[in-house]
């Protein structure tokens, strides 16, 4: 078996209520391999978002995280997050216009089949689907090795969902990157997941085959 791209050992988010972690803060173990998509499900409140945020080092957390064998604390916070990038469920925008968030080359957006005029538009005018695709593109431009996607297609129609899935899979294949993808959609999990894990009681377990298919 090849060495893991991302290794997580006994990781827990300090913001996680002890009750949701089964009263024990022993944390999560997980290995992600290059090119794979691992889907993550679990009841709401199980701590899926907090787990992704802990991996990205956005919340105070404990445990061991290594990227290609290098411990996380060898990287600065920003340097780590450029390599292990978290995409929140709801995209946030700091400027009023699309171009405020992309200093250079909007034409790369063609890859996402975004309409050509999107560049000149205000963020508020975009549809939810357009915003999600732009947010994903914003993250991919940073060039991360690991993508942490928090329900990126939850609010999207079938066509937009398929486009996001295709974009992520192409990116992972081209870059040898990996994705940890929070999803509740059985159809989506069947399409994209190399593995399917369930978070509950503070630990990860493999989903039964019936749930993964």
């Amino acid at each position: 078996m090849p060495a893991a791209l991302l290794s997580i050992h006994a990781l827990y988010n300090d913001r996680q209520p002890a009750a949701a972690a089964g009263g024990v803060a022993y944390g999560v173990d997980l290995d992600l391999y290059a090119g794979e998509t691992v889907c993550l499900s679990g009841q709401s409140g199980a701590g899926k978002t907090l787990l992704l945020r802990a991996i990205a080092d956005l919340d105070p957390n404990h445990g061991e995280v290594l990227l290609e064998g290098v411990p996380r604390d060898r990287f600065s916070g920003p340097a780590w997050r450029r390599r292990v990038t978290f995409c929140a469920a709801e995209s946030a925008w700091w400027g009023a216009r699309v171009t405020d968030h992309f200093a250079d080359a909007m034409r790369e957006a063609d890859e996402f089949a975004l309409a050509a005029e999107v560049a000149g538009r205000a963020i508020a005018e975009l549809s939810t689907g357009e915003r999600q695709r732009l947010a994903l593109w914003r993250a991919l431009r940073v060039g991360p090795k690991v993508l942490l996607l928090d329900e990126p297609t939850a609010a999207l129609d079938a066509a937009a969902t398929r486009r996001i899935e295709a974009t992520v899979r192409r990116y992972l294949a081209e870059r040898g990157a990996a994705a940890l993808w929070v999803s509740h959609d059985a159809g989506q999990i069947a399409r994209i997941a190399d593995r399917h894990l369930i978070l509950g009681g503070g630990i990860l377990t493999s989903a039964p085959a019936s749930e993964a298919s």
């Binding site: 956005l58 919340d59 105070p60 916070g77 920003p78 997050r81 990038t85 978290f86 925008w93």
Partner: protein
């Protein structure tokens, strides 16, 4: 020229005006009569006490007493800055940030003004040092409270935007650049407005006071200009220091946004 001395009757008559206003607002059920009377009483008591204190201080102009008075003023102003913020930093930082910023800006500028500009003999002469410091502290206090309050509210309200930038690997400083700029601007606007309106719309209080006390108008004007420039410099320096230092405290060594360091 010397000032016409005010008698107790003069003050009592002025107090009657406030009493009359309180009576009217009580009749109209405005709900401010009580606050009005308490505030008026506080003005009379606090100013009388500080007047007595200044009288003592001026008679015995030892530098130790001047320093003690200055530190007491700083301590009270620091508490005021802290109390005016909706979401101050928790713990000793909440108080220390404002007090520290005022210490850095006001004390430096008052010492500069005394040693280089006004040059009383001795330089710490309380008749100059204490009023100068008082005016700088009073204005800087407002500016710092406005600026830091703006920044901390912004950090809470725009938390998802700041964290979106952090998640993309932007450094904390970049993620808060707009917020810090806004905070400093909010802090400086009142003083910019005051300078722009000075003499045209409003006659500044200090100048008016000097003129009433018998100073030649042009002398009073010169002092007023000096004071306004000093106040502007102190508010700018203090607000910049407080906003920059406060912004650092909003993040930890991993450049994570730490909203939990602000009081809810």
């Amino acid at each position: 020229m010397t000032a016409v001395s005010l008698s107790a009757v003069d003050l009592a008559l002025a107090a009657c005006l406030v009493l009359l206003l309180a009576l009217i607002s009580h009749r109209m059920a405005l709900g401010v009569a009580h606050d009005l009377l308490v505030a008026a009483a506080r003005t009379a008591i606090q100013l009388t006490l500080v007047g007595m204190l200044l009288k003592l201080l001026f008679e015995d102009a030892g530098p130790v007493w001047v320093v003690l008075m200055a530190l007491a003023m700083l301590a009270i102003a620091g508490r005021e800055v802290w109390a005016r913020q909706k979401h101050p930093l928790r713990g000793v930082w909440g108080y220390g940030l404002g007090a520290g910023a005022m210490f850095v800006s006001c004390f430096t500028l008052v010492i500069f003004a005394l040693l280089v500009l006004v040059q009383p003999v001795p330089w710490y002469q309380p008749q100059y040092a204490i009023p100068l410091l008082g005016m700088l502290l009073g204005n800087t206090m407002n500016a710092i409270a406005l600026g830091v309050d703006r920044m901390n509210r912004g950090a809470i309200n725009e938390r998802n935007i700041i964290e979106a930038r952090l998640a993309l690997g932007d450094p904390a400083r970049e993620a808060t650049a707009a917020l810090r700029r806004d905070a400093v601007r909010v802090a400086l606007v009142p003083m910019i407005n005051a300078m722009a309106a000075a003499g045209v719309v409003s006659l500044p209080g200090m100048m008016t006071g000097q003129i009433l006390a018998g100073a030649p108008p042009l002398e009073a004007v010169k002092y007023q200009i000096l004071i306004m420039f000093l106040i502007t410099a102190a508010t700018g320096l203090g607000a910049l220091w407080a906003v920059e230092t406060g912004a650092k405290r909003l993040f930890d060594d991993r450049e994570r946004l730490r909203i939990d360091r602000l009081r809810n």
